[in-house]
């Protein structure tokens, strides 16, 4: 579909999406300076309440098969699609956030192919007149900030799903579940602007975050994201110099990637595979490969059999969308980059903390709730470093804890009521309690219950006098200038205070006590 601008009817069609690089023959030897050229096609489920063309609920994941269906999404003869206005609005939000131009008229087309999970034997999608074109998203690239161009954004319906009891290899028959049929999808196609699997993953993370900020996507829902990646290895400079008409090695399309980590894995595998092929002096076939998530590899698909002619034509049951004027009325929320800048400005967060905290909508919201009632800088450290670490260790999400608990904990630390070390213990107690479904109470309650309160003002002086009394030899050693003696004495004091005392404070107090004794 090269050279196909919006508004023209293609005479010769291929499966290529506008903007993707053309195939070419060429087999230069492998070189260390070869560039990895990656473009992505990302499908995301829009988090609407009802499906794209009917009023069925999209909340199907915990229900039985074929329970969220009606004549429309089952494709029963005679049923007609009716566009979900909210889904269009969501798609427009995405288009606007990705800096795209929304076309004055976009058209739904039928993508025809036979598969049992596709109830009408065509998918209502968009083809030569997509919703929006020509945007970009800024990511953190290998060498600083990087702009990834967005070729197009279009809307389509999700097909149903085949279910194989006992696994696809062992099942004797296939079952079809149409609950997913008609879930609104948005397809986002990038230009081949990424240069490493890591950049591809960062693009996806940034895209996910952006979509979540827009309240149109829920990445926690199983199967809500699917990615196809185009990848080729090109001699340095060839791609940029000659753009879309370059003569380089063929590209491979890797399909069936359904996780953020999977993208990096699949592409890393594919680079190694392609390098090996090139090293052997063999050409890279332009082909489609499938990612096998469980094995972390890509496998060849039966190339000819899977080459479809989708016979696109405009869906006669839907009117063209004329929504470009609607875009101006859509007000975007604060997006990740703006929020990151604000966190640095407003809370004094470090750049790294701000990036971590704004990299996830729920985390950013959580942080702001905490920072409103506790010291913002201390909160940033405790949320971005400590809390995230402890949550990841337990495979828990940010939703598991309440901002109030965190505020309480950070205030206890800030007022030096407890030491950092004991605060971590309190946090662990809370998280473990949640995991065991035995709520441990608020941080203040836990501190009181476990008697973890830091109290250098009362406990520490007593402990210090005791130690000075009990360890005359060590005192003597200290006075004769042995550095190790001081550390020994601190250890003894800490033992007596059972960790409640702040080490830095103890250090200062012991020093003072010893200096006093000298006088």
């Amino acid at each position: 579909m090269e050279n196909l601008s919006a508004g023209t009817i293609p005479d010769s069609r291929s499966e290529q999406i506008p903007g993707q690089i053309s195939s070419a023959r060429g087999n230069p030897p492998i070189s260390e300076t070869d560039e990895t050229i990656i473009g992505l096609e990302v499908h995301c489920q829009l988090d609407t309440v009802t499906k794209l063309f009917c009023a069925c609920s999209t909340d199907y994941r915990s229900d039985g098969p074929n329970t969220h269906t009606c004549p429309v999404c089952l494709g029963l003869p005679g049923a007609l699609p009716k566009i979900n206005k909210r889904a269009v609005e969501y798609a427009l939000r995405v288009a606007k956030a990705l800096n795209c131009e929304v076309l004055p008229e976009s058209v739904f087309s039928r993508k025809n192919y036979f598969y049992p999970d596709l109830d009408k034997a065509f998918q209502i999608s968009q083809y030569d007149k997509p919703l929006a074109v020509g945007g970009h998203l800024i990511i953190e690239g290998e060498n600083g900030e990087k702009l990834v161009r967005i070729t197009r954004v279009h809307m389509e319906e999700d097909p149903g799903r085949l279910v194989h009891k006992g696994g696809v290899d062992r099942a004797r028959y296939s079952l079809v579940d149409y609950n997913r049929a008609g879930i609104p999808l948005i397809e986002i196609v990038t230009e081949p602007d990424m240069r490493s699997p890591k950049e591809a993953r960062r693009f996806l993370n940034k895209l996910r975050t952006t979509l979540e900020y827009l309240s149109v996507f829920d990445s926690d829902k199983e199967g809500s994201l699917r990615v196809d990646a185009n990848i080729s290895l090109q001699p340095e400079g060839w791609f940029d110099r000659e753009k879309k008409s370059y003569k380089g090695r063929n590209r491979v399309e890797v399909k069936n990637i359904s996780s953020y980590k999977g993208v990096e894995k699949a592409l890393t595998f594919e680079i190694t595979r392609q390098r090996n092929v090139i090293r052997k002096g063999q050409p890279i076939e332009q082909a489609t490969r499938h990612f096998v998530e469980t094995r972390g590899i890509t496998t060849a698909s039966r190339s000819k059999e899977e080459e479809h002619d989708y016979r696109y034509f405009p869906e006669p049951d839907l009117c063209p969308l004329r929504v470009s004027s609607w875009v101006d009325l859509i007000e975007l929320p604060e997006l990740p980059d703006a929020r990151r800048a604000r966190f640095i400005r407003q809370y004094g967060c470090s750049s790294n903390h701000a990036r971590t905290l704004t990299g996830d909508l729920k985390l950013a919201d959580f942080y702001e709730k905490v920072a409103l009632k506790a010291d913002p800088l201390l909160s940033a450290t405790w949320v971005a470093d400590t809390l995230i670490g402890e949550l990841n260790y337990r495979d828990m999400g940010i939703g598991a804890v309440t901002p109030a608990h965190m505020t309480d904990l950070i205030n206890l630390v800030e007022s030096k009521t407890i030491t950092d070390k004991n605060a971590i213990d309190v946090l662990r107690t809370i998280l473990d309690g949640i995991l065991k479904k035995e709520p441990a109470g608020t941080p203040s309650q836990i501190v009181a219950r476990l008697d973890l309160g830091a109290s250098e003002s009362d406990v520490a002086p007593a402990a210090i006098s005791e130690v000075i009394r009990e360890q005359p030899q060590a005192i003597a050693d200290y006075k004769s200038g042995k550095k190790g003696a001081f550390m020994f004495l601190i250890g003894q004091v800490m033992k007596k205070t059972r960790g409640k005392a702040d080490p830095a404070e103890l250090n200062r107090m012991l020093q003072a006590a010893l200096d006093e004794g000298e006088q």
Partner: protein
């Protein structure tokens, strides 16, 4: 709402019905207790709906088409489902998987198609009214051949929700009855906005036919009396136009050059859309279960190869070809631009005239088996397809007979002026009554 029951046991010698409902319920309203037959491609909840195809044998829709709900809400009794060319693909009703319907005027002849069952059911007196659907003449052709009235409404005026699609961008459900008045009465019930059909337009039809056509300008395109039109049929239709002239209409002869492309544009469009619409019948969800050890993609090919009729398979193949990579621009895209030319011709003419008149069909009803060659059958649609391509309203009203077989006068009007088309037909009908 109080429901009553009707007893319906017709003597169906012409094979008009595929399914009959012996004791249908009916309620109150403008169609109270009226027996109405429904073409078998219009979904009826709980009543088998096959569209004349083997591949839908045993399919019972779980929902009613919008028009069926409207009929029932207005008191009509749905008495059965009528025979048709498989999925509407034909001009004779001979392409039904369940045998042809016969013309009540001469059982050696076809009733026309594809709504032949509905036309025959009305013409033989088994029902007062029927619903048909018209993709390229499927209401008007059988109305003309069976000597009844049939209206193809303006595209968008009647909801297609529940109509098993053959060619979505062309077809409309429409009323069929013995008189223009009854046709209008049925139209009043089925027309109107339906939010479930995105192509539906909020233009209700609230109209009583008016026979005064003083000063109405009637265009008569030369092309409607060109090669292929039986001179005897042409003469009958001219007589009818002269009747309208005597009633005060101005007759203006005119030209519709885009008629030259109409048939090609029509067939490319309808087979393309059909190839996609009918792809869902793969043996997974409809028809008897496929009992085979073959893998799915082989099993579904076998099912489609054996359960679709010959004409349907031909059109699916033609449509698949027309949409294929490398041919789309040559066929489908070109057909759409030809379609625009036909539309422009109509709109240009409608600046000069109020309606356009001509024969509905070039000949009287064919003998059974006469149109064995598909191309000659396609050619007989030449006078009806322009209205579908342009989306304009068109009616066929009986205007006498040739060799004892009815002839139809076709009147086409501006978009959403179904009322004017109805009035013109009514004026003729009342003048000769």
């Amino acid at each position: 709402m109080a429901r009553s029951r009707l007893s319906f046991s017709p003597d169906d010698r012409v094979n008009a019905f595929l399914t009959t409902c012996p004791e249908p319920e009916y309620g109150t309203g403008s169609l109270e207790g009226l027996a109405i037959a429904i073409k078998d491609n219009i979904s009826t909840k709980g009543i088998p709906t096959t569209a004349g195809s083997r591949i839908l044998e045993g399919y019972v829709p779980p929902y009613d088409a919008h028009v069926v709900s409207l009929l029932m809400a207005n008191g009509a009794a749905i008495v059965g489902k009528t025979n048709m060319d498989e999925f509407g693909m034909g001009t004779t009703t001979e392409n039904s998987a369940y045998g042809p319907t016969l013309n009540p005027h001469d059982t050696g002849r076809v009733p026309g198609g594809s709504s032949g069952g509905s036309a025959a059911a009305v013409a033989s007196g088994m029902v007062r009214m029927a619903l048909g659907s018209d993709t390229g003449g499927s209401i008007r052709c059988p109305a003309a051949f069976c000597g009844i009235v049939g209206l193809k409404p303006t595209y968008g005026r009647v909801s297609r929700y529940g109509l098993i699609a053959y060619a979505n961008s062309l077809e409309q459900i429409g009323p069929m009855a013995r008189t223009v008045m009854e046709t209008s009465r049925l139209m009043q019930v089925i027309a109107g906005y339906d939010p479930r059909d995105s192509t539906s337009v909020d233009q209700p039809y609230c109209h009583t036919p008016e026979k005064n056509i003083q000063g109405r300008r009637i265009g008569v395109p030369e092309e409607f009396f060109g090669a292929g039109v039986d001179p005897v049929v042409a003469a009958k239709v001219w007589e009818a136009i002269e009747v309208l002239e005597r009633k005060g209409a101005d007759i203006v002869t005119c030209r519709m050059p885009a008629m030259a492309y109409a048939l090609a544009a029509y067939y490319v469009t309808c087979v393309s859309e059909a190839s996609s619409n009918l792809a869902r019948f793969d043996g997974v969800r409809y028809g008897p279960a496929v009992d085979t050890k073959k893998p799915w993609h082989e099993a579904f090919q076998e099912r489609r190869g054996t359960s679709f009729g010959k004409e349907v398979r031909r059109r699916i193949m033609l449509g698949t070809f027309a949409l294929s990579s490398g041919y789309y621009g040559k066929y489908y895209a070109k057909a759409q631009s030809a379609r625009q030319q036909v539309k422009s011709d109509f709109l240009r003419l409608f600046k000069e005239v109020d309606v356009i008149a001509g024969p509905t069909m070039p000949t009287i009803a064919f003998r059974l088996g006469e149109k064995a060659d598909p191309l000659s059958m396609y050619l007989s649609d030449i006078l009806t397809v322009p209205a579908n391509l342009a989306g304009v309203p068109a009616i066929s009203v009986p205007c006498g007979a040739v060799d004892g077989m009815p002839v139809g006068l076709q009147v086409m009007g501006r978009p959403f002026e179904d009322e004017v088309v109805i009035d013109t037909a009514y004026a003729y009908e009342q003048a000769v009554d």
